[in-house]
Symmetry: C2
Subunit: 297 residues, 2 copies
DNA sequence: TCGGCCGATACCCTCCGGGCATGGGCGAAA
DNA sequence: TTTCGCCCATGCCCGGAGGGTATCGGCCGA
């Protein structure tokens, strides 16, 4: 009764929880449907819990099933992270992987990396660009990431604050609001898209309804603004890393919640090379008011 | 090459990493030694990494092996937490488990629980006493815990500050320093034991050398003080929950690092009942100066 | 040099995971 | 109401992974 679950069981369960259809889930897993049914049944018996309601009108997650879906995702990410980090620890050419979005450093990264290179334990740093930086960090594909505090999910990470920043609206230079010195949220027309760092963690390539997803990069977002399709809310420091094209204008939004740019890393890692990466941040940080106040808020 | 590791492999690996001896590890696992050897070999082949140095003078972890040991512990804790939380989500009588050390609430818990009981989503709360509260939280045996900030490992937890507090030395009333109004760390004789919340996370029942471990509870610690075997450094609010016996005296230590008592819970849980537990904390909190500043420091 | 410790190898067996065929419940269509 | 069809469960078989016993081989200490 108390044996530990196997990762295969959790992975198979997650696919069923995702598809809510044993047949399709089995296809996705490359196995036959009966085998999958039995795996789930055994999992349910082992847990002593019914995970799915099998109505003839399809399959539904029970409340405990919903709990397991969330927990299983975390557990599997932890297992994958174990494999990835172990492999990378054995690499002949050790290095750190830093995940960020293009322009997502407000121009602060170059001096940090320069200072880091002088640290005694420093390693070469490879920068990767990705929207799902938090996920990369969780499953071991990255050693550190530049994240935004209220927008990204910082749970389980340790962080060092780089900069706390207000927001501004980016609009076409021809927009009626473009000449204003400042704005309030109420001034903005309804339906503007979120700014960088507000993206949802899961971003399907395409909606079930076929709608296009929100833009994944700041460049895409600003492109949409230039096309007059939206208004963007971005950190005021953004132009330091990515100047606005001339046909766009930035106007501070006074009452938009501020964003905090942080350097984040998995809480339990112990690499001295990674620890040294946090050190130069303190010297580079500008305008930081929450020094030493870690995240996980 | 890229398949995910199985929990059984990780568990077996951890025992070998702990024992550094295949034979003993196999016995602990209840299997024969050859099977264990093969499991580890397969794990190494799958990862493409050598995890152990097999010298004839015993077995040693390689550096990547040490990485995997840390990662595997976290991954397995996550898997076990998944099972525990799922089972408890299916319980007929839902409730929350709150882990603490006896006296570890500074007397603040009763009003919190009283206020919590009036929250709309509240559940019955079962309090369990344990030294390894953080571990209980990590593997799903508890839903929340009262932890001490610099002492406990708060990585991966969300927290709500209950109280920040200086420390005092507890000494026998007959001790030469007992009449002082205040002390500094330099005044204390070398070799005093840590106070509550300074305990290491792993506490073997007995040393390899056979020495007794540090006391696990405050009551044990104060007992040792009364016996003149040590001096204790405890939070100044401790007597609010656990009055000092008359033959003991508390003297503030001005330059000892303050302790922060926090309510902690796993970062990614989503139970509304658990979320409601954090709410009364804000109303009960006294002397808190770091409100809203979360942990993970 | 020899015996003992300890991990690796060889070989066998059992059982678990998976495949195929089929049963059975339930809703929708006729 | 009957029938068709979708979809999950069940029955049965097979291959392989995991485990057990016996044994080898390297290394150290006596």
């Amino acid at each position: 009764m108390g044996e530990t679950l196997e990762t295969r069981e959790l992975a198979h369960f997650l696919v069923v929880a995702d598809e809510l259809h044993f047949g399709r889930a089995a296809t996705r897993l490359g196995i036959a449907q009966p085998a999958l049914s039995r795996t789930i049944q055994k999992l349910e018996r082992r847990l002593g819990v019914v995970l799915f309601d099998r109505g003839s009108r399809g399959v539904t997650l029970t409340p405990p099933g919903r709990v397991l879906a969330g927990e299983a995702r975390h557990a599997l990410a932890a297992v994958q992270a174990a494999a990835r980090r172990t492999r990378r620890a054995a690499t002949a050419t050790p290095h750190l992987v830093l995940a960020m979005k293009a322009g997502g450093d407000f121009g602060l990264l170059p001096p940090i990396l320069a200072a880091y290179a002088h640290e005694p334990e420093s390693l070469p740093v490879r920068v990767v660009f990705a929207a799902e930086r938090a996920q990369l960090l969780r499953d071991g594909r990255a050693d550190a990431a530049l994240l935004f505090d209220p927008a990204d999910d910082l749970h389980g990470f340790r962080t060092e604050t780089l900069r706390r920043d207000g927001r501004m609206a980016v609009l076409p230079a021809s927009h009626p609001l473009a000449h204003r010195a400042s704005l309030r949220l109420a001034d903005l027309p309804a339906g503007y898209l979120p700014g960088p760092g507000d993206e949802p963690s899961r971003r399907p390539a395409e909606d079930a309804a076929g709608r296009r997803p929100a833009p994944a990069t700041v460049a895409e977002l600003l492109q949409l603004v230039a096309l007059g399709q939206t208004i963007a809310l971005v950190p005021r420091s953004l132009p330091a890393a990515m100047p606005l094209r001339p046909d766009l204008t930035g106007v501070p939004v006074l009452d938009a919640a501020p964003v905090t740019l942080v350097l984040a890393w998995p809480a339990h890692t112990t690499s001295p090379a990674r620890a040294a990466l946090a050190r130069p941040v303190a010297t580079v940080r500008t305008g930081g008011e929450a020094a030493g106040c870690p995240a996980t808020a």
